[in-house]
Subunit: 340 residues, 2 copies
DNA sequence: AGGCGTAATGTAAGCGGTTACATTCGTCAA
DNA sequence: TTGACGAATGTAACCGCTTACATTACGCCT
């Protein structure tokens, strides 16, 4: 009840004294209750409650050479794709005794490597990293991290430990195939922040075009600048100026797609007849847009949840054999590509 | 150079032995270099580098009864308003020896209270919490947190410690005044997730209407459901069905505004003539939309950066007298309210 | 030359838990 | 009744660092 003495720092010692046992017994009822007698266990639980005891994570980490922290290293704070992943991660961590420590690499491999080192120093319970494009040194660190490591966002053939995501290459091919199936013959490509992950999407796009014997012409517009809706507008403008024959576009993400749609409207291009649009990720707004915009749905929240679950399973020894979890994707057709 | 022995755990002991000094000296050169002789200091620095030593944060926290953690408690992961704040926070923390620990209350005051307790247990370097609507117990905890506490997102009269944000009430009044100044006489209000913060925006809206002698009629549509673009469409549909006289709307945030715009387009309402639209926050997409959408710009990144800075200042004793930093806001007129 | 002050470093006691090992206690078989 | 054994609990070392205090070394003054 009297939980307000956080500042006075109720320690395990206090709990032990209050009950009349040793701190070891208190520690045991917290870590493996089954070895302490029910009577004592109950008294200790009551004391913990009434004193408002909360364990000190630093002390615990120091003594057990293992912290409760699950480290998460992502490229970007503000990209809402990662916000969804984080949502999944936090909700999966909730109710466990773990806590999350977040680091942002800002799409810089060296910065990521450094974060890995710093995180590893805390002997984390597990580590979640995005993608498969780590530096050599980072790869080495992750391979012998001494804790479960989960790569998210992508699948690939050689996980350091475990992996949960989907194939960006396949997803891009499927989206492109969709455009072609809808009768578009001159599809273009809009890409921003062309990191390795988005490059794989570009490969998928190109390969699918090639498979259909379609020339790409000048219809691939990319930039290294970070993605935004405004940028989507700019890229479409560029594209239409350079390659007016373009009859559809596959956008690397939904922000670009939305911006492209606005720009198309400004140019009085009719969607989907003059221009088909397909985004990537299927953020919530795509369904609400006018016209609604087709996109490739990805399972971001599930990725976050799944990653945490993989770690918890590994920790509890109940891990499965599967090293790679492929969550797949789903091309969602809407009005922007002649849907509905 | 040989930085790869993270797993072998290079400790301060190793560094000390390598140089031939005591661990105390190593600790000192890390915490207050000025008390150790330059010669020794350099040798230690070299050893740290060559052994790849990284301090153990748990041990440090335990020994110094003060961790390097800046705790941040926000209501939501996925709301991109907070993503911008986080961006500011992380960029301000970068380069310091602090780290960020994030907690999400999911808009539940009790959950927030609990997070505060847990965070305080780690004796954080500082604490950042959102808003001013804490439970009684949480308030008490924050008042005697024993570390700098910064409330962000809002200003109010009684900070627990320090505060950086703006007045939601004033911002809403200004937006409403803008609509009225643009000639709209029957403005409506769209709100989702009506928590105390958005309630204050509603008050501002109402008071401004009253100041102009305008009846609000049935033009206030709110819901407790979380905000989304789709919801913006629904709310506008409801609003226009119930109060067809509505000639403008002030939306609690930009997602709603965007959804409302799409719905207006579906209903063939001309923007800005049949319907004026003003959003809130001025996310990037508002400028790119077709038509571009007016909004109230808020300084979210600056809020995050500023909050961290306030903590760092307090920690270094260089804090100013000002307890409250008002970052203000800015009504940005665009085509959706007859701008440009 | 002896004494003293100061700067630089060392010593050792924690910080709050965990855990291997020791001890105690009750129970049951002989 | 006694000894053995397992369950429950206690003892104490230790995790890696910080820091108050003790010690040493050195230069300077009288």
């Amino acid at each position: 009840m009297n939980k307000n003495n956080v500042n006075k720092s109720v320690t395990m010692r206090d709990v032990a004294d209050h009950v009349g046992v040793s701190v070891a017994t208190v520690s045991r009822t917290l870590r493996n209750p089954e070895v302490v007698s029910p009577a004592v266990r109950d008294k200790i639980a009551a004391a913990i409650e009434s004193l408002g005891y909360l364990p000190d994570p630093a002390a615990r980490a120091l003594a057990s050479t293992r912290s409760d922290i699950i480290g998460v290293i992502l490229p970007s704070v503000s990209n809402n794709v990662f916000a969804d992943v984080m949502d999944g991660i936090y909700s999966a961590v909730e109710g466990t005794h773990h806590s999350v420590q977040l680091g942002y690499s800002r799409y810089a491999p060296l910065s990521e490597e450094n974060l890995i080192r710093v995180f590893l120093r805390q002997r984390p319970a597990g580590l979640i990293v995005a993608g498969i494009d780590q530096t050599e040194a980072a790869q080495a660190l992750l391979r012998e991290a001494g804790c479960p490591v989960v790569q998210i966002m992508e699948t690939g053939s050689t996980p350091y430990d475990r992996m949960i995501g989907f194939s960006h290459y396949d997803a891009a091919r499927a989206a492109t195939a969709h455009l072609i199936a809808q009768g578009y013959r001159r599809p273009g490509f809009l890409g921003a922040r062309m990191d390795p992950r988005t490059q794989r999407r570009l490969h998928g796009f190109r390969d699918e075009l090639r498979a259909h014997g379609i020339e790409e012409g000048k219809r691939i517009q990319t930039t290294t600048r970070p993605s935004s809706v405004t940028l989507g507008s700019h890229l479409l403008a560029q594209l239409m100026d350079l390659a007016p024959e373009t009859d559809a576009i596959f956008c690397i993400n939904d922000d670009l797609a939305l911006g492209a749609m606005f720009e198309a409207q400004r140019r009085n291009l009719r969607i989907p007849d003059d221009l088909g649009i397909c985004g990537f990720n299927d953020m919530e707004m795509m369904a609400a847009a006018e016209p609604s915009i087709s996109s490739v749905r990805t399972f971001r929240r599930e990725m976050g949840e799944g990653a945490v679950q993989l770690i918890l399973d590994a920790l509890s020894g109940s891990a499965t054999q599967e090293k790679i979890v492929d969550l797949g994707f789903q091309v969602i057709q809407r009005r922007s590509t002649r849907g509905h």
